[in-house]
Symmetry: C2
Subunit: 237 residues, 2 copies
């Protein structure tokens, strides 16, 4: 006859209202919400309750809050930051190790390279080759340029992910790297020889992509990630 009265936490209702407004596109990224004092009147809640709702929306990555005159809650474009933060928590909690993350990365990069080989346009290949040229120069200059080399390596993998046209892979690239970079900074040491090996890897992958050989691109990418990881293994434990 009756059903349980809805357990209302008023701030949750506020969160849902604002979130729906944003997701429905009625509030676009860059647009501002009314000031706290206005919003609390519209929503008929206290400022404290409204602020709890804003904290949740901020944590979800939907809004950012700026101070001062003309400040307030600005709608954010959705990014991968929240996913990365959640994964980072899992890692901190010791449930995910570097091995686990690397193994996952091997699979993803392999698949991404295969898809990129299948779908790359001539323009994509030209772009990849220009990145490759940068990598070659850094590799020649030796270990002082390790950091720059790693940056280009990362950029090449990101470009491959973008060639797939699948935002999930782009997201995964960011998520994996945001969470794996801390290990690189601590444990990765490459001398000129290792950088040259890695450059050769990258060149082979891009060559396979250009020849649209999907299987070869996949195998090369998998081997490349594994090799990259081996440089850390002896130091890690």
């Amino acid at each position: 006859m009756f059903k349980a009265a809805k357990q209302t936490r008023i701030f949750q209702d506020v969160v849902e209202q604002i979130q729906e407004t944003i997701l429905e596109g009625k509030l676009m990224p860059g647009e501002m919400l009314p000031s706290e004092r206005e919003l609390k009147e519209v929503l008929q809640v206290s400022r404290g309750t409204l602020r709890e709702a804003l904290r949740v929306l901020e944590q979800k990555g939907l809004i950012e809050i700026k101070l001062g005159v003309g400040g307030g809650a600005v709608v954010q474009d959705i990014s991968y930051d929240q996913i990365n933060e959640s994964l980072a928590l899992l890692i901190r909690y010791q449930k995910v190790s570097l091995q686990h993350l690397t193994e996952f990365r091997v699979g993803v990069e392999g698949r991404v390279s295969a898809l990129a080989a299948e779908r790359s346009t001539p323009a994509d290949v030209i772009h990849l080759k220009s990145l490759l040229e940068q990598a070659r120069q850094f590799a020649e200059k030796g270990s002082d340029f390790q950091k720059a080399f790693v940056e280009v390596d990362k950029h090449i993998h990101l470009s491959l992910a973008e060639i797939t046209g699948n935002p999930v892979y782009i997201s995964m690239h960011h998520t994996v790297h945001d969470n794996i970079d801390q290990y690189y900074e601590t444990f990765l040491v490459m001398k000129q020889r290792e950088m040259a090996e890695n450059f050769t890897d990258l060149a082979s992958i891009i060559d396979a992509v250009e020849r649209k050989n999907t299987d070869e691109a996949r195998q090369l990418a998998e081997a490349h990630v594994l090799r990259f990881n081996h440089y850390m293994e002896s130091r890690e434990m």
Copy 2:
């Protein structure tokens, strides 16, 4: 000579203190934080500020708040819920389509099956075969049991992910399925013939796992996911 004074939002300091306490293991899942009135005394902040911090921690999935006497903030075990929620937001935001998600799933399931083939123990295979027997029975009973069949299918894929021993794959399984299930419920219709096809797929994959044929397991799994998806394609648009 001087550096910029730290921009303090007091509630963030509170968030960090509590989060660190949890991540360092000083507060284990199931344990309770002091009451708001105690905590605000310890931390020397107002209750409103403390509550904003608790909202953030709640949204991060680190605590859950219970009402009434003996209630309060309970430390949560870290789960995949937050990652799933973030991905769900991306999907709602139209940046990820079912095709994108399926394509990603194809890669993941292929890799998972290959790793499972490499690492499965006889006990794992026995477990998989018992699940397969359940699937066989539901498939024989026809489309009234579609939902049960899909559940077993999902369980088999989860088991394969668990056999890899890599928590990232287990996490990905949950994330992908939590976000893809809504489509299944809306668009997936399998008659007895389709269920029989799917059962054959699963049997082949498990057979390949038992024979430790990694390449075959990967290819079969990829084809299986694609077939599963094709059942929806005509209805989706």
